[in-house]
Amino acid sequence: MKNLVYILYFICLISNAKTITVGKSYPVKTIKQALTLANDGDTVLVTTGIYKEGNILIHKKIAFLGKNFPTLDGQNKFEVLSVAADSVVIKGFKIINSGHAALDDPCGIKVYDRSFVRIENNILDNNFFGIYLQNSKNGVVKNNTIKAYGKQEQLIGNGIHCWKSDNLQIIGNKISGHRDGIYFEFVTQSVIWRNISNYNIRYGLHFMFSNDDSYITNVFKGNGAGVAVMFTKNVKMFNNYFEENWGDSAYGLLLKEIADSYIFNNHFKRNTSGIYMEGTSRIKVEKNVFEANGWGMKIQASCMENEVVHNNYIGNTFDISTNGSLVLNTFNSNYWDKYEGYDLNKDGIGDVPYHPLSLFAVLTESNPSSMLLYRSFMITLLDKSEKVLPSITPDNFVDNTPLMKQLRL
């Protein structure tokens, strides 16, 4: 009985809500006018057309919907859409030309300190920052297409920028041409799922001081410097693709000062370095594919207690490289295509331990220009003798149970 009363109460609430339609052939011509007329719980439906109304501020709990992608133009002067109310839904707009490079970071859509805001199915084109969530909780950013035309030597904002937020869901967005595709700073308990972040100026995804997050099944391709996860702990990275990140300071995945994380089932293909690790500890790298990279993994001496197990290393110039002689990490049960041992008892595990660190990887680390001599006869000879009798490379840098067959990943 009590429930029924509640249900009736909600039905009354719903029936009270009205829809205000905006458009040339409707009584309400401008969005700003509709926003003044609207109350909490109403819907503002915008029909096709180009709206140049400067900065549009939503300060009521409304659904703000576009029909056939009406264009909101910031004329390169304004922040286009500002949200200062909880539970706002923004759906189906084309948002273009926000202001550029001003000190207050103008955005396509910016949420100020609000919760339960939903930004879905929008097209953002040529904005300084795309979507900016500041101090907001339980937000959803889903299926947006965000594009900018940033060039090198030019200041440009991030595609999806999240700052001091919690419980966010970033799902199914396509981002390109921004500084960082997705940027997290002080963001916790959030998930990044099924996004495509390609050809951004700096990083496809960038984590700073953001604990307890996960990113799953994303594609990061051809970004200026790959993906960076820094000064963070407890991050889960599953099933992502890191591809085509070429350059002197470009890495498929850059890990710096991170701890207690799990890297599982990712693909690192055609990068200068697949993973670069510095100051990382207690990370498990499991069931990943490292294929056709310059360096599969670069592990700096400042890393400890990391576990690298059950990965495939295929066709990399160097599988692993390091800059020190101290080994505090374990590398077991991986498949290395450069392994030349045998398996007499046919248990699928090589009978001879494998040393993944080649002599030449150590030499190039301390003297990059020695790369010129790579594949020369003498180097091959030295490499072979080093494999048998390690002298320069640390002898405990070893996989004791190398796999004979490639893992199916």
């Binding site: 100026i201 300071s249 710096k256």
Partner: protein, 143 residues
């Protein structure tokens, strides 16, 4: 006359080798020598030159100071910092005026900005409610 010109050119070239001029930072190409991030913002970059003439580039003033503090072996010659109001222009730290505020979002949370005149420093300190600093104060912010 020709020998003179030639020797002059050689001399000039040699002098320019040991110069005390900062090398411009290439945005989105150069990476920070302390935090490894690619330098993308020309308002917060910094650069130092060692006495041996080696250049190190940073994306944040905080990175430069921490780098300088962590490495006491090589003596430093000079420090430079980006002018907050000019795009990617390096000025010497001795002639710069600093402010620090949580409203300034620098890449590595140093949250400091540098200006070339005291008037600009005052103006922005007022606008952002920031604290004003001298170079030695900035240098001693980090242990």
């Amino acid at each position: 006359m020709r020998t003179f010109a030639l020797s002059l050119i050689t001399l000039l070239t040699l002098i320019s080798c040991g110069s005390n001029e900062p090398k411009p930072i290439k945005l989105n190409i150069d990476s920070c020598d302390f935090c490894k991030m690619t330098i993308a913002n020309g308002k917060f970059g910094a650069e130092l030159i060692t006495q041996k003439g080696r250049y190190y580039k940073f994306d944040d003033l905080a990175c430069m100071v921490q780098f300088a503090k962590s490495n006491t072996v090589v003596p430093y010659q000079s420090f430079f910092v980006n002018d907050y109001l000019k795009d990617n222009t390096l000025i010497s730290v001795e002639s710069a005026f600093f402010i620090k505020s949580d409203k300034i979002n620098s890449p590595m949370r140093g949250n400091m900005a540098a200006f070339s005149t005291a008037a600009q420093q005052g103006e922005y300190a007022k606008k952002l409610g920031a604290q004003t600093l001298t170079w030695s104060e900035v240098y001693n912010t980090y242990p």
